[in-house]
Amino acid sequence: MDETSATEAVAEPGFRDIVRLEGVQKYFGSVHALRDISLAIGRNEIVGLIGDNGAGKSTLIKVMTGVLAPTAGKIFIRDREVDLADYSVRMAHDLAIETVYQDKSLADKQPLWRNFFVGRQITNRFGYIDIKREKKIAEEVLLRSIGFRGVGITVDSTVAQLSGGERQGIAIGRAMHYNSDLIVLDEPTVALAVKEVRKVLDFVRRIKDSGRACVYIEHNLAHVHEVADRLIVLDRGSVVAEIAPRDMSVADLTEFLIDLQKAK
């Protein structure tokens, strides 16, 4: 892929929402995973997506990012409707939308530089990878935007050698490198030590500071509450509430979600 297309996309002026869903439904066989979802993500906000296990959070962002096709509904990117027959992860990448999944964003046995570029390698016209160039860019990103200096990690390290926080750092750093307008994070802090969680939250703030949007799925309410501009609550496939964190304390938010559970 040529590197310019992602940057050009950023320059596109005058859109309000980076992504908007309208009436999205998703069935897995008879399981109704998403029920008539309509929501919008603004161009420079952090939206926290919360809800119980199995509420449909991961499914929602997979539909949003081209991994899964919705059963029904419309998707708008930068206020323009996308043709769902064409929508794919690759197209989402081209539209500057990046996703960081729990622990499924990086391949364990592969070196970091390959993880950085896989899916959009710098190649010649026969498909051969420009290894030198990929390594050099990966190294710059590693040092500069991710800040892995002097921790014994190089672009040749395999992912398996990294700690959980470092993995999320690499995955988020990769997303930022591609000048994405929207970075989607699916429970990036699961199974991380407290110090590592701090790093991830710093990464999330960096996304906002650099003028991008972020959808952040998180189990720990204190964490989302701390960084999100807006919270969307999902319950059994439906959006049941939108909450501004400054209007509700973490304790009240917890109560609210517990009451939702009881209502089941």
Partner: protein, 348 residues
């Protein structure tokens, strides 16, 4: 650290093992292993095994398996022998046999990627089907390709290079299939290590899910993968049939275990995600050399499979230990701390 060195030089452990076994045979059977002819013989007999193992390196590296290639050796070999001998079609027979291999591989790919059948089962099925087809169509007959060496097909594909009357005899015995196989091996090495397709294959072997998420078209790459394997098996069938100047229905049988063993001895991971062409080639040399070396050293042929099997197992355990620290830990946990392991598992 030892692990680091092993990683840096592709296939280093297996190259050392190869050197040790070679040294051993030079000692136990000097008459055979210190003369050049055993090596020129290898160059004419090993190419089919190497071609199969090259394809399997990609397949196993992608976390899949192909058990159907012995049937492709039979089926493509039959297509080739029939068209070459009965219909005198020459190069068209070559093209048809290759196409047959590619087609069988393509069908395997569709079954695995589109229908979603695990490759172990899918290719077990197609193995029976195509081997059966070869037997039915050939009526169990074998084809002797007498006089084949007059044809341009034979001369170009499996002929000997003529270095002139003054060259040493062994030099004039170097077979062309070795040259073609070396070129293909080099080409596939560049694909695996520096081409987008090779990278995709290793990511797929690492994790199908990660591969989808990063935008790899997993289904398409798997179809390509099995098609490649089929094409290589088709070419192996042509080389084998031409070199033997004979086709018979179960000529592929001996390759199932030796080809898979060569790949795994070479250091390609049984769990996928890591693969080495150089390792595979040395794995093939070891497997081929054992056969000749054990017999030349005075052991009966019955020992050959036993020793091959032993080396195969030692290699697997070795790689597991060196290259899969997490699995090693899990294995130790299962042995020593099974109660603790069970609890950790339940809590997930």
């Amino acid at each position: 650290m030892a692990t680091g060195l092993i990683r840096r030089i592709e296939g280093l452990p297996i190259i050392l093992v190869f050197a040790c076994i070679l040294g051993l045979f030079m000692f136990t059977a000097p008459g055979v292993f210190l003369s050049p002819f055993i090596y020129t013989t290898f160059l004419s007999t090993l190419p089919p095994l190497i071609l199969l193992a090259l394809g399997l390196t990609f397949v196993i590296g992608a976390g899949e398996i192909d058990l159907s290639f012995p049937a492709i050796i039979a089926f493509s070999g039959f297509v080739f022998a029939l068209l070459f001998k009965e219909y005198q079609l020459g190069w068209i027979a070559v093209v048809a046999a290759l196409a047959a291999g590619l087609l069988v591989g393509f069908v395997n790919g569709l079954l695995v990627a589109k229908v979603g059948i695990p490759s172990f089962i899918a290719t077990l099925g197609t193995q029976f089907f195509w081997a059966g087809m070869a037997t039915v169509l050939s009526g169990g007959k074998s084809y002797a390709l007498r006089g084949a060496e007059e044809s341009s097909v034979w001369q170009v594909l499996v002929g000997r290079i003529d270095f002139g009357p003054n060259a040493p005899i062994w030099l004039n015995q170097i077979s062309l299939q070795a040259v073609w196989t070396a070129l293909i091996a080099f080409f596939l090495w560049t694909i695996l290590t520096r081409h987008r397709f090779g990278e995709h294959i290793l990511f797929i072997g690492d994790s199908n899910e990660v591969s989808r998420v990063v935008g790899i078209d997993v289904d398409r790459e798997k179809i390509r993968l099995f098609t490649l394997m089929g094409g290589l098996a088709g070419l192996a069938a042509i080389f084998l049939t031409l070199e033997n100047k004979n086709f018979f229905g179960n000529q592929g049988q001996g390759y199932l275990l030796t080809a898979i063993a060569s790949v795994l001895i070479g250091g390609t991971s049984i769990f996928g995600g890591r693969a080495t062409i150089i390792g595979t080639i040395f794995g093939c040399f070891i497997i081929g050399m054992l056969e000749a070396g054990l017999v030349a050293s005075g052991l009966t042929g019955a020992w050959v499979r036993t020793v091959q099997g032993l080396i195969f197992l030692i290699a697997i355990v070795f790689y597991l230990y060196v290259e899969e620290p997490q699995r090693r830990a899990a294995f130790l946990a299962r042995l020593g701390f099974s109660a603790k392991f069970g609890r950790a598992k339940a809590a997930e």
